[in-house]
């Protein structure tokens, strides 16, 4: 058997594995997918809001937090050297909200700001809320019950894109839904590998144990989750706890965001590589999963370029000869191709992937399917996802060159 079909089969094996894993997890847990952990104890909760030039959103973020149905001890805005009017807006709001505090500091990045916040926060639990995210009224109360289990270190909600009017935003909405759904399922096997920035509630003692957030990492949320996993803490998710966030409206900020996520992932792989195939879920699932993603992405792109170049060259030479000897460049035989069984296999997998995505959208939110037509879903599967490996390559390039920064 030739090399390429073996590689294709390898990809298919991995795809079937993850599809099976998620479908079995869904089937086993379908009745308690939207379960909310019971609130049996009262916890004191401090909210940290790191903010850098967030004058457009900070007011609504703070108001959303204060509309919470859970008692919140304090809300600390960590103004990370904003040059706009973020600080002034917060100061104005402090008049109406006595629990609101403002820490003005020099710009030092999100992770460092959060570490400042952790040092002064008084709550047993610390919720981190991005300054452009709006937690819903019950977002905190629906998560806090998880902390009755002393091993739970962090809990995360369902992050929903607030802006989903344009085609590009709708593609991201599909993506966020699939991510949230699969994250919830991974929670059942203690395999959640990120608690995203828009909202996550941490046990303060757990954060102190891991020494706070890693200021060198581009994605402090991924790093903290991996660190907590390494220390044996559980990560939980509740689909009925919802926070909305603004997703990038244009390709350029979207690309920068994704590149940052990838860079953070690469930093985490590098930092925790010694735990590969060791230390519970971090070494046996999370790290291999990330490494596999990276490997398959790189291999896929290499094959893509190899095929693209050889086929283009072949097509060019064929066209040149055909023109030279005066024979048609396209014949009926070129149109009626004879498919290989790999083509059929691929089509079946693609159909299953599409059905899985439709299932996710159907389960996740009523009305989601109405907003998303089949074209959006197919475009998401056929084109949007195929951009991932390209971003991965760019991130790897920047990572190896050291040419990356937060902003």
């Amino acid at each position: 058997m030739e090399t390429l079909p073996i590689i294709y089969l390898g990809y298919m094996f991995v795809s079937i594995y993850f599809l099976s894993l998620f479908l079995i997890l869904y089937y086993v847990n379908r009745k308690n997918l939207f379960e909310i952990p019971k609130l049996t104890k009262k916890y004191s909760v401090s909210i940290l809001v790191p903010a850098y030039n967030e004058e457009k959103t900070i007011e609504r973020t703070i108001k959303s937090i204060f509309s919470s149905d859970y008692y919140l001890k304090e809300i600390i805005v960590l103004n990370d050297g904003s040059v706009d009017s973020t600080g002034n807006i917060v100061k104005e709001l402090m008049k109406d909200y006595p629990k609101l505090k403002l820490i003005d500091k020099k710009n030092s990045g999100k992770a460092d700001s959060l570490n400042h916040g952790i040092a002064i926060a008084k709550g047993e639990l610390i919720a981190v809320v991005d300054a452009d995210s709006y937690p819903e009224k019950d977002a905190f109360s629906n998560l806090i019950g998880f902390f009755d289990d002393p091993l739970v270190g962090v809990a995360t909600p369902f992050i929903v894109p607030r802006n989903d009017k344009t085609f590009f935003e709708r593609l991201q909405t599909i993506e966020y839904n699939v991510i949230a759904f699969t994250r919830k399922l991974l929670g059942y096997v203690d395999a959640i590998y990120v608690t995203p920035g828009p909202l996550a509630i941490y046990r303060k003692s757990a954060l102190e144990k891991i020494g706070g957030f890693d200021i060198k990492n581009m994605t402090e949320d991924i790093e903290a989750t991996w660190h907590l996993t390494k220390e044996g803490y559980k990560r939980k998710m509740c689909l009925l706890s919802v926070a909305t966030t603004t997703v990038p409206k244009k390709i350029s900020p979207w690309y920068k965001q994704r590149r940052r996520w990838n860079l953070g992932g690469l930093q985490c792989i590098s930092k925790y590589k010694k735990y590969f195939l060791k230390r519970g879920m971090l070494g046996f699932f999370i790290l291999p999963f990330f490494v596999l993603q990276l490997f398959l992405g790189l291999l896929g792109l290499t094959i893509f370029f190899y095929l693209f170049i050889t086929r283009s060259l072949s097509r060019y030479l064929f066209t040149r000869y055909s023109i030279q000897i005066g024979t048609p460049v396209i014949t009926m035989d070129d149109i009626f191709i004879t498919p290989s069984f790999l083509n059929y296999f691929g089509v079946i997998l693609f159909i299953l992937g599409t059905l899985f995505t439709i299932l996710v959208l159907y389960i996740m939110k009523k009305g989601m399917l109405k907003k998303q037509n089949i074209f959006n879903i197919l475009f998401y599967l056929l084109f949007y996802l195929t951009v991932y490996p390209f971003i991965m390559i760019a991130s790897l390039y920047h990572y190896l060159n050291g040419t990356w920064r937060w902003r």
Binding site: Y17, R315, I325, T327, S340, F345
Partner: protein, 216 residues
């Protein structure tokens, strides 16, 4: 609840579906190989019949028109078969028995070519033998592109000229002593090459007309 056993369940499910897929794929490709085999068996019988006719020239008077007609029909049939076999061969990924079948067909076509030469001599037939020698094993990108273009050109010629040409594509690099002998005898040194009526060898040509002038 610890559900980590699901990782193992997923692996078992994957192994079942993956192996089922491979099995079905193998069956699917084997079906194609069987089809090629069917073509081969039928062609082999037809050719055997041709060979008997050709051998009978020395013994009894044979109706040349009938022999030529049978030869042309057989040529058309193996031309169509060759196209179909090529498609199956390109599409088969696991079952590479098509390569073996391809080689068998090459020998069959060689036999047909020899038979065709003899019928032409004995019956003074007017058709042209056009033998297309190409590289089968690991051709370079350039060779592959050139061969594809020539193959299209010859197919076009065959469709235009119909029964007046016997198009016989032969893989020339499978190391069959019989084909090697013929290559040597007709001084075919480069691949791809076209041998017309066992006289003219064309390796580099710039137009269809260059071939057509030998066929008119």
């Amino acid at each position: 609840m610890n559900q980590k056993y699901i990782f193992l369940y997923a692996l078992i499910v994957t192994l079942i579906f993956f192996n089922l897929g491979i099995f079905l794929g193998y069956m699917f490709e084997s079906h194609r190989v069987n089809k090629i085999n069917e073509f081969y068996v039928n062609s082999e019988m037809d050719l055997l019949d041709q060979r008997i006719q050709e051998g009978a020239f020395d013994v009894v008077n044979i109706d040349c028109n009938a022999a030529i007609k049978a030869n042309i029909e057989f040529a058309d049939k193996i031309f169509e078969d060759a196209k179909q076999i090529q498609k199956f061969e390109d599409a088969n990924r696991i079952n590479k028995d098509t390569i073996f079948q391809h080689k068998r067909f090459d020998l069959l076509r060689t036999l047909f070519w020899i038979n065709s030469i003899k019928i032409k001599e004995n019956c003074n037939a007017s058709y042209h033998n056009v033998v297309y020698f190409y590289k089968f094993n690991e051709p370079s990108i350039e060779q592959k592109a050139k061969q594809r273009a020539i193959s299209n050109l010859l197919t076009e010629l065959k469709e235009e000229k119909g029964s007046s040409i016997m198009l016989i594509p032969l893989a020339a690099d499978n190391n069959f002593p019989s084909i090697n002998l013929l290559l040597e005898a007709y001084e075919v040194k480069e691949l791809p090459s076209i041998l017309i009526d066992e006289k003219y060898i064309l390796t580099d040509f710039n137009s269809k007309e260059e071939i057509e002038k030998y066929l008119d």
